[in-house]
């Protein structure tokens, strides 16, 4: 692959689709700088090369990563995901987070959690958790607390409906400013939503028809532009009335 020599040329790769083997950054002209590499990038001697197909993103001043959309999830530290309890052992719950390996949620990883008030989760409970440790050799470790030790909305989700999408759609839904589809739906309907970066989305509302409408609208909005999403929501609202 031809390598782009200068730093200014690497800016041309940002926000563009890259494939494995592309060299996106040359380090010869950046002796005293630190660069943080995220998912999908690797240092190859004097150049940074791409390992995953996707879009190259930059976060000023020095964070680079490759964004791609899959149906599988690769656990990363500090990700918030939706997990389903599979089993409970003595010190941790086994939770499925759509990763290659089951996640381990320590029994004490709850706000004010002691050996006396261990929560009882039946098999199939939906949990909103945070990934604490992620390694490709070990089971990822999860927690229902944030860094300071507060509950912060983590924990079991009651009622509602859960459906699975790709990781790309989940990231789009979590973007700020808020995603157009969520905004448009929120203008006319009231609903509660929890989005996991592993592609799982939980929706809850007062009536089942609202839940069904919101979930189908989100599933169909993955490849629509902002304007198309708004038009789709308008059409759905008209059909309701």
């Amino acid at each position: 692959m031809n390598s782009m020599p200068s730093d200014s040329a690497s800016m041309s790769f940002v926000d563009r689709v890259v494939v494995p083997g592309d060299h996106v950054l040359d380090l010869t002209g950046m002796a005293n700088q630190t660069i943080k590499l995220g998912a999908g990038l690797r240092q190859d001697g004097d150049a940074i090369s791409v390992m995953k197909a996707g879009k190259l993103r930059i976060s000023k001043p020095n964070k680079y990563w490759v964004e791609s959309s899959h149906k599988r999830y690769v656990p990363c530290v500090e990700d918030t995901v939706l997990g389903i309890v599979v089993d409970s052992k003595f010190d941790n719950f086994l939770v499925d987070i759509k990763a290659p390996m089951l996640g381990l949620l320590p029994v004490l990883a709850f706000e004010g959690g002691t050996r006396r008030n261990i929560p009882k989760f039946e098999i199939g409970t939906l949990l909103y958790v945070r990934v604490v440790k992620a390694n490709n050799t070990m089971n990822p470790e999860l927690s229902c607390m944030d860094e300071t030790g507060k509950a912060a909305e983590f924990g079991p989700l009651k009622d509602g409906y859960m459906f699975e999408t790709s990781t790309g759609l989940a990231r789009m839904l979590l973007s700020s400013p808020p995603c157009p589809i969520l905004e448009a739906l929120g203008k006319s309907l009231s609903y509660e939503i929890a989005i996991g970066l592993n592609g799982r989305v939980w929706v809850n509302a007062a009536s089942p028809s609202t839940v069904i409408l919101v979930s189908n609208a989100i599933m169909n909005s993955e490849f629509l532009s902002a304007a198309q999403q708004k038009i789709m929501v308008e059409k759905l609202m008209k059909r309701l009335q």
Partner: protein
């Protein structure tokens, strides 16, 4: 040591989903927005070969493939063919499907479809018999599950029917030397035969919830995981019940079963019409593909010959006639009459000259594509006409034959030609040369015609010019040669 997942727990359903599906159904709502008795979108596609179909029912994807072979019949049914259904639950369709021996659901699916086709006598077995007791056709239907999105039975049933409707088996006859051999005709030579299918049994699947109170049609994968019981009713568009399958699950009241059958007959009519439309579209497309057209070589030969020769006929005839007139060696009284006749006839059209020649020779084909050539050679009488016939039929051997014919008369001709022979022996050399040239012309024309047909049309212009040149040469050269000789 990392904790790996259990294989059997590859797909999990959360408690929230389970409860929600049931509460939504209580208000007649389904998770994908359908009403309880709505089918998902049915998409039927066919492969390039006969008997290959692909059906998509929402997310469920099934392929069916029909093959036939000649086998010995079963002993208790010596004059009936054999129908076999084989199901393949591919592991790529669902994480719970395992490669290898078919599981319980695979066997059940195969059995339900088999019962619908065989016991309702949908496929005519007796027409598959070739020699009673010895050879019958065995039809095997292979069902491959590509993607499990729920309701595999219905999708597989439609796929099997679509494949059977478009399948064609080769025609075979009993004959041969001893009257016992079975000859299987090549499908390209003899049209293959479709199977005789009397009616179309369509299966409709219902899922029960809440102890049999709520039922839905065409459950999705998630709805199937939550359901209490399942029932499949196989009905044809006439309303005949071909099969009913309810294997385990919650008990339902007989009134519910009757209601399901009534709904199923309505749905079956709808699916039958969709299936028939798809098969019709495929059949017309297949018929169009098989239309045999005339080989392009023949077509071009006819048209180009007409174009070039008719043009030249008018132009060259006066010149040709003038030359004939001034060639005294040809003018024997015997030839005059036929010469005059043929000239007038060539003025009209080539066919009459051919028929006139037939009065003498009685050759096989009456139509001569090169009438002008016949006209010029009429001067020499029947001898050359006979050669013409041969040349028209077989170009390759004519080169050798022509010389022979000039010296020895053909057996077909009678005393007339003999007389001609005697008068012409003295001029045989000149005749030979003339005949050669006369022959050379059609050969080149044939050559050019084929090349026009097979190669690019714009070369035709060049070739027409060359043809004119050769024609002029043939007319002009003999006279020169004769003068020299």
């Amino acid at each position: 040591m990392p904790i790996m997942e259990h294989k059997s727990m590859a797909w999990r359903m959360s408690v929230n989903e389970r409860k929600f599906i049931e509460t939504a159904l209580a208000s007649d709502l389904r998770v994908d927005g359908r009403r309880p008795f709505d089918y998902r979108r049915l998409n039927i596609k066919f492969g390039r070969e006969d008997g290959c179909s692909e059906v998509q029912l929402g997310e469920t994807h099934v392929m069916a493939y029909v093959t036939s072979e000649l086998v010995q019949p079963y002993r208790d049914r010596p004059n009936e063919g054999i129908l076999a259904i084989f199901t393949d639950f591919s592991p790529m369709a669902d994480p719970s499907f395992e490669a290898g021996r078919p599981g319980e659901s695979a066997i059940e699916l195969g059995r339900v479809i088999d019962r619908g086709l065989r016991e309702s006598r949908a496929v005519d077995m007796e027409s598959l018999c070739v020699v009673a007791g010895k050879l019958v056709w065995s039809i095997q239907v292979d069902l491959h599950i590509i993607d499990n999105g729920g309701n595999l039975v219905d999708a597989a049933n439609v796929a099997a029917l679509a494949a059977l409707l478009t399948f064609q088996r080769p025609e075979c006859t009993v004959g041969g030397d001893n009257g016992q051999d079975i000859i299987i005709h090549d499908p390209k030579v003899v049209e293959p035969l479709p199977l005789v299918i009397h009616h179309l049994p369509i299966s409709v699947t219902f899922a029960f919830y809440n102890k049999g109170d709520i039922m839905v049609i065409d459950p999705t994968h998630k709805e199937e995981s939550v359901m209490g019981g399942k029932m499949t009713a196989t009905i044809n568009s006439n309303g005949d019940v071909c099969a009913i399958q309810k294997a385990g699950g919650e008990g339902v009241m007989p009134s519910v079963v009757m209601q399901c059958i009534r709904i199923a007959s309505v749905k079956a009519a709808d699916i039958t019409s969709k299936l028939k439309n798809a098969v019709e579209v495929y059949n017309t497309e297949r018929a169009l593909r098989k239309v045999k057209r005339h080989p392009s070589k023949m077509a071009h030969q006819v048209s180009v010959a007409d174009i070039t020769l008719e043009d030249k006929q008018v132009k060259d005839l006066p010149r040709h006639q003038a030359k004939m007139a001034c060639q005294p060696y040809i003018g024997s009284s015997q030839d005059d009459e036929p010469k005059v006749d043929t000239r007038t006839s060539t003025n009209a059209d080539g066919n009459s000259s051919g028929t006139h020649a037939d009065a003498f020779v009685g050759g096989p084909s009456k139509w001569d594509p090169y009438p002008l050539r016949v006209g010029t050679s009429q001067v020499l009488g029947t001898l050359t006409v006979v050669k013409e016939e041969q040349v028209v039929s077989d170009d390759h051997r004519a080169v050798e034959c022509s010389l022979d014919h000039t010296t020895t008369s053909s057996s077909g001709t009678v005393s007339v030609s003999d007389a001609m022979q005697k008068s012409n022996t003295s001029k045989s050399l000149k005749d030979a040369v003339k005949c050669l040239l006369e022959f050379f012309l059609p050969v080149t024309m044939d050559f050019w015609m084929t090349s026009v047909a097979t190669e690019y049309w714009h070369f035709a212009v060049v070739k027409v010019i060359v043809l004119c040149a050769i024609r002029c040469l043939c007319q002009w050269l003999p006279s020169k040669l004769m003068k020299a000789l």
